[in-house]
């Protein structure tokens, strides 16, 4: 169908331009017409953007100031939802705490792991692209339901991990069902998805001119020194990029805890991620107004963190050209 649209106008234009006829028409008008046509073609997409993205965003902003249970019409309550979050709702604070621990522990671990492997792979290994794909795979799968279910099975009390520990005579616990270890398994799951930052690190490592290392070698710098003085500084923009991306992503993690805890954030709220609590509020407690307010607070938190990240980057990120 799109073919016919693209093809038909051309011959028509040829017909519509008999020599001499209205050739004086300004180019502007023609351009305007073309623009109009373009917008018309874009209209479906714009409509989609308005109806599916902008509309709901504005609606959620409005709803965040209301008491809305989905069955009755929304009641305007001003800032009550926001006030309640920080004064009364201890579970909200728990969810913030859980998520913060998750981000603060898992992101650095994941990045360190990714960098380590990138360094190992960067040595001109045979079959590099094969390993790269293999290690990248968890990043594609990590957020999926299937992997979360696998995790639950692996770390269950009759799971593979315990079977392995059993070989060494260690009596394992029910890792995902014990409130002391459940979050740890999720952090491990996040670290396991190191592939995406690793691929970016690899690309970054390739950008560092080999001549720097040669010069350093001539000066007698060892491997560690080379890493500290050449690799790390030149890689800081990449580290920064990965850091920003992963912080944003992990703050919004949902699937892992939803599946591993069977949608409760349990045991004892130990895996109650922010987004999971938001979901529970909206769809289990029918408190859509509150859930909307939580979504906006999440937006502010993430925007704030990213801002802080950018500000702090001045002090440690080294761009080669800003010397």
């Amino acid at each position: 169908m799109s073919d016919s649209i693209a093809v038909t106008p051309a011959p028509r234009r040829a017909h519509a331009k008999p020599p001499g006829a209205r050739r004086a028409k300004p180019v502007n008008a023609h351009k305007r017409r073309e623009a109009r046509t373009a917008y018309l073609f874009l209209a479906p997409w714009f409509l989609g953007l308005l109806v599916i993205t902008v509309g709901p965003i504005l609606a959620s902003l409005y709803l965040s100031f209301t008491d809305f249970n989905m069955l009755e019409t929304a009641k305007w309550i001003g800032l009550d939802n926001y006030a309640k979050m920080f004064t009364e709702d201890t579970r909200f604070l728990t969810s913030l705490k859980v998520t913060t621990i998750y981000v603060v522990v898992s992101v650095p671990l994941q990045l360190a792991f990714a960098l380590g492997l990138a360094l190992a792979l960067d040595r001109g290994l045979r079959g590099l692209s094969f390993y790269r794909s293999i290690y990248y795979l968890p990043s594609l799968l990590g957020g999926s339901v299937a992997i979360a279910i696998l995790w639950r099975k692996l770390f269950g009390s009759d799971g593979l991990v315990n079977a392995l520990l059993d070989v060494f005579g260690i009596q394992g616990a029910g890792w995902v069902s014990d409130p002391n270890t459940a979050l740890g398994t999720l952090i491990l799951l996040h670290v396991w998805t190191f592939g995406a930052p690793m691929v970016i690190f690899l690309a970054g490592l390739r950008q560092i001119p080999q001549s720097y290392y040669e010069a350093a070698q001539v000066d007698g710098a060892g491997k560690l020194r080379q890493f500290r003085s050449i690799t790390l500084p030149l890689l800081t923009p990449i580290i920064f990029f990965n850091l920003v991306l992963e912080v944003i992503k992990s703050f919004q993690s949902f699937t892992q805890s939803f599946i591993v805890s069977s949608g409760t954030g349990g045991p004892v709220d130990s895996t109650l991620f922010y987004t999971l609590y938001l979901y529970l509020k909206g769809f289990k407690s029918y408190d859509m107004g509150y859930a909307a307010a939580m979504a906006w607070v999440l937006l502010l938190i993430i925007a704030g963190l990213t801002g802080v990240n950018f500000l702090a980057s001045k002090y440690w990120v080294f761009y080669g050209d800003t010397k």
Binding site: M1, I5, P9, R12, R13, H15, A16, K17, A21, R22, K25, R33, R36, T37, L40, F41, A43, P44, L47, N69, M70, L71, E72, G156, S157, A173, G174, V176, S177, D178, P179, S262, G263, T264, G266, P267, V268, D269, L280, F283, K284, S285, Y286, D287, M288
Partner: protein
């Protein structure tokens, strides 16, 4: 030229419009306008339930050629999410299946129509029917009933050289002791499995002369909660049940992964309609027993729970036809002979008499059990709105207790505060 470019624009606009409308049509589901009344019926459950329901719908359409019923099916885990979203979008199904904890939510928020006089209810179990009556409006018609009871595997108990208890007189201590002995006898068998089911708490509270819900607030006392958690704690301590972590895994695993279901356990509390699933999963002969009692309790506390309700949306365009469909589901032997006990044991005495012989053996067993304990049963009322949340709160705080993250005293206070707030909210 201006003519042709205008044509062009119109062509594009028309094309765009065509794309939009065809997308819209897909979303709305292409329905031939046959002049029939279209009803939507939402329900949750397993694949087998879906098949049975499609059959029963076909039967109804045969008898009522002017009505078309479209089944709207999902699994239970996200049933309420989908339903609430539809109701919020003014797109509520005409006939909605709702279970008892959701009933208060929907009735209390004006989403349901009064069915009094629209569905014949004379032959239904009046107690179960009363549970669908809120603020003297008959918002809901029960599809069938279950009882929360103790299921035991007699063979396993006897193999552990223990006696099957006399369920007319046994106490919670007897159960804990029995569980301890069975677990201690080895063989990887666990004596008991506990759960967080509010039905258990309700029965336990009734035996102590309290109600779980007293009108629009919690009726259960802190002492009762502590005693109830005491049973959990004793089971864990004596190894009568698996430890807290293992237990919470088992509870999440449902029928198939439960100790009774995997034939690694001797006793456990379940709804009577789960007898079939557990029997099938374990391949064992299981027996229904009365729940243990608090010492010197005057009542068993047990009750018939309507397994689900049929309701009609307040905004349905075809309330009469919707009511007719419900009438067919609960009063017509033809419907019952297809559904059998899938939605709980039918409570319509006449229907039950007609299909009794067709019921599978486990259902006959359940029926006999319910008949036997019928005179000891307490009436049941629909819990207030917010009850679904109270279930989650109970689960969470019970976990805090069994994982020793808090003291029972603090937990009791916390539970009552949060649960009352959820109901008030």
């Amino acid at each position: 030229m201006s003519f042709s470019s205008r044509t062009k624009i119109w062509t594009v606009a028309l094309l765009a419009a065509t794309v939009m409308t065809s997308v819209g049509a897909c979303g709305g589901g292409d329905k031939a306008d046959s002049g029939k009344v279209e009803l939507r019926f939402s329900y949750w459950g397993s694949d087998s339930r879906q098949k049975l329901t499609e059959q029963v719908i076909k039967k109804f359409e045969e008898k009522n050629p002017t009505i078309n019923v479209e089944g709207d099916f999902s699994d239970f885990n996200n049933y309420y999410e989908k339903l609430a979203t539809k109701v919020a979008a003014n797109d509520a199904p005409d006939v909605m299946s709702i279970e008892i904890r959701g009933l208060g939510e929907y009735a209390g928020r004006g989403a349901l129509a009064d069915l009094a006089g629209k569905v014949v209810t004379t032959d239904l179990d009046q107690q179960a029917l009363a549970a669908g009556n809120i603020d003297s409006k008959q918002y809901a018609i029960p599809s069938g009933v279950n009882a929360f009871s103790m299921l035991v595997n007699k063979a396993t108990i006897e193999k552990a050289k223990q006696k099957v208890p006399d369920d007319k007189s046994w106490t919670w201590d007897d159960w804990i002791n029995l569980a301890k002995q069975i677990s201690a006898s080895g063989g990887g068998i666990t004596g008991a499995e506990y759960n967080y089911n509010p039905a258990w708490l309700q029965i336990f509270a009734a035996q102590r002369g309290e109600k779980l819900y007293d009108g629009k607030k919690l009726g259960v006392s802190p002492d009762t909660l502590k005693a109830w958690w005491g049973i959990h704690q004793q089971l864990i301590q004596t190894k009568g049940s698996p430890d807290a972590a293992k237990s919470s895994e088992l509870i999440a695993g449902g029928v198939e992964q439960s100790p009774l279901g995997t034939n690694t356990g001797a006793t456990g509390m379940w709804w009577s309609n789960q007898l079939g699933g557990l029997t099938k999963a374990s391949g064992q002969e299981l027996t229904l027993l009365r729940m243990p009692k608090v010492k010197e309790a005057t009542t068993s506390g047990m009750f018939l729970q309507p397994s689900m309700f049929y309701t009609v949306a307040a905004k349905s365009e075809h309330p009469a036809e919707a009511a007719k469909f419900i009438d067919f589901m609960v009063n017509d032997p033809d419907a019952a002979s297809i559904l059998l006990s899938d939605r709980g044991l039918p409570t319509n005495a006449k229907v039950l008499a007609a299909v009794k012989d067709k019921l599978p053996a486990v259902d006959q067993k359940t029926l006999a059990f319910i008949d036997e304990v019928r005179s000891e049963l307490s009436p049941i009322a629909a819990p207030p709105k917010g009850a679904l949340q109270v279930d989650d709160i109970l689960k969470r705080i019970t976990e805090e207790v069994v994982f020793a993250k808090t003291t029972p005293d603090a937990a009791a206070q916390k539970f009552l505060t949060e649960a009352n707030a959820a109901i008030a909210g």
